[in-house]
């Protein structure tokens, strides 16, 4: 046990924690993006709302989500610890340090980018996650005709102080599939209707992009998973997958809603 605590308090151990939590968050981002793609479905949010329900009520996913929250906190705290230690390692700085000559900008600014992302996560979770859990959320009732699945009727159920349980049943009399869920979709539409909120998202996704362009492959380097054959692939994935595709995907949502909804 003592060995393990020593390991994780060593410089390399701390980096290991940064790498593991970071990679875990990267995996989450992929899942999150795939889930959120449902926002683009033109179904007045039915799929998205059901997905939101699943994410908050399915036990294995709940466990993972708590792991995720822990990761975010641990990643941030260790970043702070490491940064403080790193600052101490050079108490007197250079009059001139020409970092641009030897290292990419992203790699030198992970702290700032990370801080932007942390702020973003707080705002983002406050808007959606907190609202979903404790907020005065309206509900939506989706009635889909069983004979013609294209025919959907949506009824908004304003919040009346009582939470309505998630319902999913077949009304054999009416011949419809009825789903009643919290209408997170409506919150999304409202939030993404505000220009400053959209701007915040776009800026944050830019930060995410830069953070991951360095962070993703860097985590592999830290773990020691450096291989002449596979490292180029990981670098490619880090830049184009995590640095471009994912942030673009996320940024597309507020932009889409702002301009088209």
């Amino acid at each position: 046990m003592r060995n393990l605590t020593q390991t994780f308090s060593s410089s390399l151990g701390k980096k290991l924690i940064m790498a593991l939590t970071g990679l875990f968050m990267c995996i989450f981002l992929v899942v999150h993006l795939i889930g959120n793609i449902q926002l683009f479905k033109n179904d007045d949010g039915q799929a998205f709302n059901s997905y939101a329900y699943l994410m908050t009520h399915f036990v294995p996913i709940k466990v993972i989500s708590y792991l995720l929250y822990t990761s975010i906190i641990v990643h941030a705290i260790y970043a702070l610890v490491l940064t403080t230690k790193n600052k101490k390692a050079r108490p007197i700085g250079y009059a001139i340090q020409h970092g641009a000559a030897n290292s990419p900008w992203t790699s030198r600014n992970m702290g700032i980018l990370g801080t932007v992302l942390l702020l973003f996560i707080v705002i983002h979770m406050n808007t959606f996650w907190a609202q979903y859990h404790w907020g005065a959320l309206p509900h939506a009732k989706y009635e889909t005709s069983l004979s013609n699945p294209q025919e959907i009727t949506v009824t908004a159920i304003p919040f009346d102080g009582n939470e309505v349980a998630y319902t999913d049943y077949i009304d054999s009399v009416k011949g419809t599939h009825i789903v009643i869920s919290k209408d997170l979709y409506k919150i999304v539409v409202e939030a993404f209707g505000q220009w400053w909120y959209v701007l915040l998202y776009v800026i944050s996704m830019a930060a995410l992009s830069f953070h991951l362009i360095h962070g993703f492959s860097s985590a592999f380097q830290t773990l020691g998973w450096d291989h002449k054959k596979y490292m180029p692939l990981i670098k490619y994935l880090g830049i184009w997958g995590f640095g471009v595709l994912i942030p673009l995907g996320f940024a597309a949502m507020p932009i889409y809603f702002f301009f088209f909804k």
Binding site: S11, K15, W225
Partner: protein, 257 residues
């Protein structure tokens, strides 16, 4: 292109870190260097400045240097924001003044790291590097009693890779360049050399543990994979050494019993 045979002198302004000793505060002091030949090495330029200073009754600028051919690792100047100056793959002693222009202002600072305290002016104490090597940078064989050299066949690829790591000159440019003053490139180069070779296997895991522990005790910062060390290393030692060290360290600490 042929250069002209008679070269014009360059005029330079130097801003040099002067610090009497470890206990006093230092500052950048400006000097004029008016007769600099482009053929001079950077250290020869400082020699000339020092001769002038001595003639004027000033104290010469102290800096570490020895072989002046890029192999001993003694020279260690941070020049205009970069260790060993603006060119890649060379040490300060191999840098020539033709890499600068007439009228340039050159800022010369010592390596900056808590683990490399300034002794005087541009001279720093890099004994932390030695102590890391004491902790485990060796293969424990006594003199004599070793097998014939050809008893241990080693693939040429592995031997070359080990030599790549072993070319480290211990100058400390990696620490100086790193925004975190991390020594991981230095440590990992030695760890890698031994970890790659069959002779290094018996102590492979204890070695990495001992060296990393000593590195942490010396007060170096942590690697954030910026790659500045690799870019500034006069021997162009690769970052993959750090990955190898990490791998071995985790294997040693987490998986080995």
């Amino acid at each position: 292109m042929m250069r002209l045979s008679i070269l014009e002198d360059m005029k330079l302004t130097l801003k040099v870190w002067r610090q009497k000793n470890a206990n006093t505060k230092g500052q950048l002091v400006t000097y004029k260097a008016d007769h600099v030949s482009p053929d001079m090495s950077f250290l020869e330029m400082l020699d000339v400045v020092n001769e002038d200073l001595i003639h004027k009754g000033d104290e010469p600028i102290h800096f570490d240097h020895d072989c002046r051919e890029g192999i001993c690792g003694a020279c260690s100047l941070h020049i205009n924001g970069r260790p060993h100056g603006p060119k890649q793959g060379i040490t300060t002693c191999q840098l020539h003044m033709r890499s600068f222009n007439d009228g340039d202002v050159i800022v010369i600072e010592p390596w900056r790291a808590a683990a490399f305290p300034v002794i005087r002016d541009l001279v720093t104490d890099r004994s932390a590097f030695d102590r890391i090597q004491h902790a485990g940078g060796y293969i424990s064989v006594n003199t004599g009693g070793v097998p014939d050299a050809n008893c241990i066949p080693i693939s040429k690829v592995v031997a070359d890779e080990a030599l790549n790591s072993a070319t480290c000159i211990g100058c400390g440019a990696c620490v100086a360049a790193c925004k975190n003053a991390s020594a991981m490139l230095f440590v990992s180069a030695k760890v890698s050399q031994m970890a790659l070779l069959p002779q290094g296997q018996p102590e492979r895991y204890q070695r990495v543990q001992a060296m990393v522990t000593q590195m942490d005790q010396e007060g170096f910062g942590n690697c954030t994979n910026t790659g500045a060390c690799e870019a500034e290393c006069p021997k162009e030692i690769s970052l993959s050494n750090i990955a190898r060290m990490n791998r071995d360290y985790f294997a040693a600490n987490i998986f080995k019993e």
